[in-house]
């Protein structure tokens, strides 16, 4: 039953362009919305560049840690004992054939290895936190938008409260009182779960609001009326009629939420409430580097660039995806 309904929806959405396309209507016949979007995306060079970078980054996070050395292995012999900075390399970074991006301070750990391993945690946390936020946001957004009335009021006000929360401060306070072991988890595993929870649980209202708005407009559409008049119940309409028409905004906003969450995770690590040291994280590296940025600028540059490139790649790809899926917004 999904397919026909989707067609109905997509025709409704694709209509303006179909009218514009006019005579060429025959040439694109038989293409689904997904195919159209993919064609548009392919034409967008910037978005494709971002997309390729995203794929490479994910590959790096998954395969990379097996290719680089131990990120926690100190190399005290590479550090000048008097000036406490790397002895050799471009601008005293410790760069060499063994350490392509130099070594950190004061332990002399391989920078490349720490950045690659840092990517693993950065991406893992931001992906899972985004998934959590999307699930919560979609469920509550659809319920609020479809049912309206007091349910909508309750959920919308709850979202307002969440959005007004001084999140960073709250997260810092929460880490302080968090036990050393809980839910059968301990140490870093527990900390990762905690970060996913905090980031995901507090960012769902952003996507929730958008889904609610979309649902509000969708529920007035003819195909929903038709389903309702044929006696369909609420769960059927929610999951079979509305959700399939929401996948485009969900995909777009999830893609745009990931970079926000990467920065959020980096901020928490920078403030010392992220991953437990010595496990590398980009924010944690920036925190260590701020003590010595004048004598070892490379230490701040590389993790900073890692965050910059990752966030930029996700944003470019997300923007392109939005343009492709929802052409009315920009063209």
């Amino acid at each position: 039953m999904t397919a026909p309904i989707e067609t109905t929806g997509s025709e409704a959405q694709a209509q303006p362009e179909a009218v514009l396309a006019g005579i060429e209507r025959k040439a694109i016949q038989g293409r689904s919305l997904g195919q159209i979007a993919w064609l548009r995306l392919k034409r967008d060079k910037v978005a494709m560049g971002g997309g390729i970078l995203v794929v490479l980054l994910i590959l790096m996070a998954i395969v990379g840690p097996f290719l680089v050395g131990d990120p926690n292995q100190p190399h005290n012999d590479l550090i000048d004992p008097m000036l406490s900075r790397p002895k050799t390399g471009f601008m005293h970074s410790g760069m060499s054939a063994d350490h392509w991006l130099g070594v950190d301070l004061p332990a002399g750990r391989d920078m490349l290895s720490r950045i690659v391993n840092g990517a693993k945690y950065s991406l893992l946390i931001s992906f899972l936190a985004t998934m959590l936020a999307v699930v919560l946001g979609v469920v509550f957004g659809v319920i609020a938008g479809y049912f309206g009335g007091w349910v909508d009021t309750l959920i919308a006000r709850t979202m307002d409260i969440f959005l007004a929360f001084p999140l960073l401060l709250f997260a810092i306070a929460l880490v302080g009182v968090f036990p050393n072991s809980a839910f059968g988890l301990e140490g870093n595993g527990l900390r990762v779960a905690f970060l996913i929870f905090v980031i995901g649980f507090f960012s769902w209202p952003y996507i929730g609001r958008i889904i609610r708005g979309q649902t509000l407009s969708l529920r007035e559409r003819e195909f929903v009326d038709a389903a309702r008049s044929m006696g369909a119940r609420a769960p059927y309409i929610l999951f079979r009629e509305l959700l399939p028409n929401l996948w485009a905004p969900i995909l777009v906003y999830a893609t745009l939420m990931i970079p926000t969450n990467i920065i959020f995770e980096a901020s928490l690590s920078f403030l010392g409430v992220g991953i437990i040291p010595p496990t590398p994280s980009w924010g944690g590296m920036l925190n260590e580097a701020k003590e010595v940025y004048e004598i070892a600028p490379h230490f701040m540059f590389f993790p900073g660039m890692a965050i910059f490139i990752t966030v930029l790649a996700f944003n470019l790809f997300g923007d392109g995806l939005r343009d492709a899926l929802d052409p009315r917004s920009s063209r």
């Binding site: 926690n72 292995q73 100190p74 005290n76 000036l83 004061p106 332990a107 010392g272 003590e291 004598i295």
Partner: protein, 587 residues
């Protein structure tokens, strides 16, 4: 009592010459500039000796003093600074090098005269000393100063309370703010205006060290009353030193000017400057840069320069010759808990002693100018220090073979898992913890790193035996400096079983050996300093044989010695920082 205060003492380990004695008046070289200065010159001698007068000395500080009230301060920098306007009974000698560890009379005319049982100490005040308002100083002012600073914890909460600990107090005197009648305070007697007698409840051979604490500087009871009294006395301290306190705005500034009623026969200080201005709340890097660019003269915090300035100072020979890198009297160490499995077994502790890489620890604290690799509890800065190394491990690089031998002996040939704690606010301790983790994992000991806030670290974390056991903190990163520069001042709090109390003890290794407890009870009854030092050495060895403290570094600070300043020397009586009481400016 507080632990990691910036108190401490150090004598230069590598000192070339004996102390150069400062010629009290005249004959100085009036040239400023520091053209012939050399690196570490201030460690052993007075640089730019001069009697050149005039000028305003500009001091900077990142934070603020704990207080300007001599009765309510604990940090070494505050104790050093207070000498500009407050004279204690005794003080440390104003000479260059190791000689300034010697206690010398200040407000008193001589050292303390102990009774045979070491329970009564008598000091005679120097005649003719006046407050800045012209009234003569009497023994009652000293008695009042002791009473307010030690018996009023509800008002004077920042300073140490050694006098309360050692003086007898038969009628439970509650301090002058609750009971202004000083006759009820029996711990100090004033038979006449020039005599102060301290009555102790137990023999204490090192009482003269306590008489150097600024808490013995006289305070007129009338000036410490009403709205201007108590904590507010910090803004209206009545001076006995060469300068008087004109204003103190917490977090902003301190201004001092010449005290016309200063007793010029004071050989411990000089009155060369017209004014002293301290700017508080300056950004750390700005403090370093402004000392070097000439818009200020000195960082009054006394912790040395930061990483960027350190690198600049050390790589430029023209700057380096105007730098000093003295011992600060601190020991950076890692305590091993004797309560936590498997460290209840001595061989497991010894295994860690062999396995740790102290060079990684040294890099964490700023490299060779941040500290020298340590092997004893007492730093070389103490007269009592004796060099020995029970666990030599490749010059501090770690000896995995020896470590594994001892792991096998303690029944854990494949290692074990433990936790290490550090203070969240201290990035150096974090790097140190990471370094320990890396070196112990080489021998199969897995280490989890845990961080706790600095505030309450001694009180509720490492100093609380229950917390340590519950959280299985086998290893604890810590640092220690003595409140007064003797073996007793350094060792007692961190190694004496008698210092173990419910919580908040600095004996965080939980050393409870009766033999060591006995030595501490006996040593304070020995009149002879050399004999006492022998006992301190025995205690140091006993602790190291027990292997419950891993000495990592004898800490050092790097100071920029501004060539414009005259009479600059490192005072080991105050954590090895530049002496403030004798500074002047070159013309």
């Amino acid at each position: 009592m507080r632990r990691t205060t910036r108190r401490g003492i150090a004598v230069l380990a590598t000192g070339v010459s004996a102390a150069l004695v400062l010629a009290a008046c005249g004959g100085g070289d009036d040239e400023g500039g520091g053209g012939s200065a050399t690196f570490n010159q201030g460690n052993t001698s007075i640089v730019n000796p001069s009697d050149s007068k005039g000028g305003t000395l500009r001091m900077l500080r990142t934070g603020d003093f704990d207080s300007t009230d001599p009765g309510n301060m604990y940090y070494a920098t505050a104790w050093n600074f207070s000498r500009l306007y407050a004279r204690s009974l005794l003080t440390f000698k104003s000479v260059g090098g190791q000689g300034n560890l010697e206690i010398t009379p200040d407000l008193a005319s001589g050292l303390g005269q102990p009774s045979a049982d070491l329970k009564t100490w008598t000091y005679k005040l120097r005649p003719g000393v006046k407050f800045s308002d012209g009234t003569p100083v009497t023994s009652k002012d000293v008695k009042y100063a002791i009473a307010r600073s030690n018996y009023s914890p509800e008002v004077m909460e920042k300073g140490p309370v050694y006098f309360r600990q050692y003086l007898s107090n038969p009628n439970k005197y509650k301090g002058p703010y609750k009971d202004p009648n000083l006759d009820n305070f029996k711990g100090v007697e004033t038979p006449d205006d020039q005599t102060v007698v301290f009555k102790l409840s137990q023999p204490f051979a090192e009482f003269d060290y306590l008489a150097t604490i600024p808490q013995t500087a006289p305070v007129p009871q009338a000036a410490d009353a009403g709205a201007k009294g108590g904590v507010n006395y910090a803004k209206g301290v009545v001076s006995t030193g060469p300068y008087k306190l004109d204003s103190y705005e917490p977090g902003k500034s301190i201004k001092l000017s010449k005290n016309p009623n200063w007793d010029a026969s004071d050989t411990n200080r000089k009155q060369l400057l017209d004014n002293i201005e301290v700017q508080l709340g300056v950004a750390p890097d700005e403090v370093d840069n402004r000392q070097m660019d000439g818009s200020a003269e000195i960082d009054v915090a006394g912790n040395g320069v930061n990483a960027a300035a350190r690198s600049k100072l050390l790589s430029d020979p023209e700057l380096k010759k105007n730098a000093d890198n003295p011992n600060s009297g601190f020991l950076w160490y890692t305590a091993i808990s004797r309560q936590v499995e498997p460290f209840t077994n001595k061989d497991c502790r010894i295994a860690v002693q062999y396995a740790v890489d102290k060079t990684g620890y040294q890099n964490a604290y700023g490299g060779t100018t941040g500290g020298d690799i340590a092997s004893t509890v007492m730093p070389p800065s103490l007269k009592a220090h004796q060099k020995f190394d029970l666990y030599p491990n490749n010059n501090g690089k770690g000896d995995p073979v020896k470590a594994k031998e001892h792991l096998a002996k303690c029944g854990k040939p494949n290692g074990f898992t433990t936790n290490i704690s550090y203070r969240t606010e201290r990035p150096k301790e974090k790097a140190a913890a990471e370094s320990i983790k890396a070196s112990l994992e080489k021998v199969g000991i897995k280490v989890n790193i845990k961080n706790y806030p600095e505030d309450g670290y001694t009180g509720g974390v490492v100093g609380d035996p229950k917390f340590v056991q519950k959280n299985q903190l086998g290893l604890m990163i810590y640092g220690w400096a003595a409140d007064f520069p003797s073996g007793f001042g350094f060792l007692q709090q961190i190694t004496d079983p008698g210092a173990l109390k419910g919580t908040g003890s600095s004996n965080i290794s939980h050393i409870d050996l009766p033999d060591i407890a006995k030595k501490f009870q006996d040593v304070v009854q020995l009149k002879d300093e050399a004999e006492r030092n022998k006992v301190y050495q025995e205690i140091d060895k006993a602790v190291m044989e027990d292997a419950s403290i891993i000495p990592m570094l004898y800490a050092k600070n790097l100071y920029y010695r501004n060539p414009k300043m005259t009479n600059v020397f490192i005072n080991y009586g105050y954590s090895g920082m530049i002496d403030y009481a004798n500074l002047g400016l070159a013309k």
